[in-house]
Amino acid sequence: MFLALRELKYSKGRYGLIGLIMVLVAWLTFIVSGLANGLSSDNASILKNMDADYFVLQSDSEHKLTRSALPVEKLDEVRQLNGDIQAEPLSQTMLSVYQTGSNKKIDIAVFAIEPEGTLMPSITEGQNMAANDEIVVDSSLKEKGIKLGDTIGDKDLGIEWKVVGFTKNQKFSHTPVVFMDIQYFSDLMQASMGKKVASYNSIVIKSDSVNKDTLQKNLTDAEVITKQEAVQGIPGFKEEQGSLTMMIAFLIVIAAFIQAVFFYVITLQKISQFGVLKAIGAKTSYLATNLVGQVLLLAIVAVAISIGLTFGVSAILPESMPFELGTDILSQYSGLLILVSIIGALLSLNRIAKVDAIEAIGRVE
């Protein structure tokens, strides 16, 4: 590192410039990853936070919760498979409702569950629903001006529900979730929408001993999917995450290329200098260590600065912006950025190894 540090100090300008580019690329990487993470929660937090292993859907519903309708008898069928299985029904629908006394529409995702079951999330404010017309809603509805005790409902159907509790991080398809009693929900569907046969969207299973294949084999006319598959099945989820992941991948490839090319050009410029250094007795390994030292130092400092900047940005972003920085994701991408910079340096290392000390003397070779 004797050479590495002195050269960085001497050529502050050029290394500062490449450092700045690295900071910008890393910063953008972190922001996009924060956005991807935030959008993923915004899209699927209800499923991700659900204490569940598998979902039973109607066959051919293509992993889509919204498409599935299971006869209510299926629940007993599942429960009788194995004593270890914890199964609960789930019904789900998307609605647009009015807050009482207001003309603005609010989109909600209704999740009808058993109020005392494990699917009921913990309540952060207020209490659990006790009566049919009571609901627990996601706290993001507060931003729409909804408070405890407010009522929301559908004027045409003539239904009104009272908000008795709030819960946190429960969103489905970018829409705040409203929890209600599944018994009441089924009655409602039959009464107001004229549904003839009672049905559930899905049966949610938690089990330590039974796996997906066994479930699938023992159930007819049903499709068993894992929680992860259910998340992927949310409309638009795959496409949204896919495009953001691709952006991140491109950014990392760009970072690798910029650095590889930069260090390669600098190495080419220094070929005769390396010849002299080798002639006076520097080994390739010594020169390589110094180069890798420079690359590592630059990458680590750049990544550290970008992490700081990313947290700065996240602090000034509005609350409603779906932006979430997970430390594990942050450290993963940091590690990846540092790793690709070292891979990029291999190109230069190869060139340094090829330099012959003899180039320092006369015209020989």
Binding site: F2, S272, A279, G281, K283, I358, I361, R363
Partner: protein
């Protein structure tokens, strides 16, 4: 007097078959402690090849090379690096200083490469810089030095690890004649004072009188005319250094 550098029947052939070029033919030379040898010859005669082989930078096709009484003829490139860093001091034509190292660091780097660090190396470096009259330029980058000053730093660097043999490749090529002469005078006095063996390839006839022996290479063969031995009593003057 000890023999510091010995070349015995060295041949060097570049390439093979039709395109083979014989660069050195049966070259033998012995340089003793305190001797300063100049190598002259026309362009393409094999001087650089000779210096590269003597400097453990290139392996000969046949023959034997002893540096500090150690046979270095058949070493791996790693071992050759070690020989160079411990036993040889190089002075090159030009631009041989590392541009981003200050003068003192130029010298410290060499001792670092030999695995020596600490106060002792720094002490030694300062002593050498004092001797070449550049202690006051200790914290300068090479770009801030004149050509002569740079060559003097290179000389100090060559002596840093106390090598047995000093090899110089046209050290005066980039200097005007007055400074060139001062640089060679400095080399000569250091070689004498420290009991080194030195070989210098040069085109500069005006500095030949400072050397103890002059050998000529022509078409890959080495000739030494005993009559060419010049008087050694001439004292170099350090005061005219550029």
């Amino acid at each position: 007097m000890k023999e510091k550098l010995v070349l015995e029947n060295v041949n060097k052939i570049y390439g093979d078959g039709e395109t083979a070029v014989t660069a050195l033919q049966k070259v033998s030379l012995t340089v003793k402690e305190g001797e300063f040898v100049a190598v002259v010859g026309p362009s393409g005669s094999g001087k650089s090849t000779f210096l590269s082989i003597a400097g453990a930078l290139l392996s000969p096709t046949s023959g034997r090379i002893l540096i500090n009484q150690k046979d270095v003829t058949h070493l791996t490139s790693r071992e050759m690096s070690d020989v160079r860093v411990k036993n040889l001091g190089f002075i090159f034509q030009a631009s041989n200083l590392v541009p981003y190292l200050k003068v003192l660091d130029q010298l410290l780097l060499v001792s670092k490469l030999a695995g020596k660090v600490g106060k002792e190396a720094e002490q030694k470096a300062k002593e050498l810089l004092d001797q070449v009259g550049l202690l006051h330029r200790m914290n300068y980058y090479p770009e801030k030095l004149s050509g002569g000053e740079r060559q003097r730093v290179a000389i100090a660097r060559a002596f840093m690890n106390d090598p047995g043999v000093i090899l110089a490749d046209e050290p005066t090529a980039s200097l005007d004649s007055k400074r060139g002469r001062a640089v060679v005078e400095l080399m000569a006095s250091e070689v004498k004072q420290r009991g080194k063996a030195a070989v210098m390839v040069t085109h500069d006839e005006r500095v030949l009188d400072l050397c103890d022996r002059i050998v000529t290479i022509k078409d890959g063969m080495l000739y030494e005319k005993k009559a060419d031995i010049v008087n050694k009593d001439k004292k170099p003057e350090a005061s005219v250094l550029g």
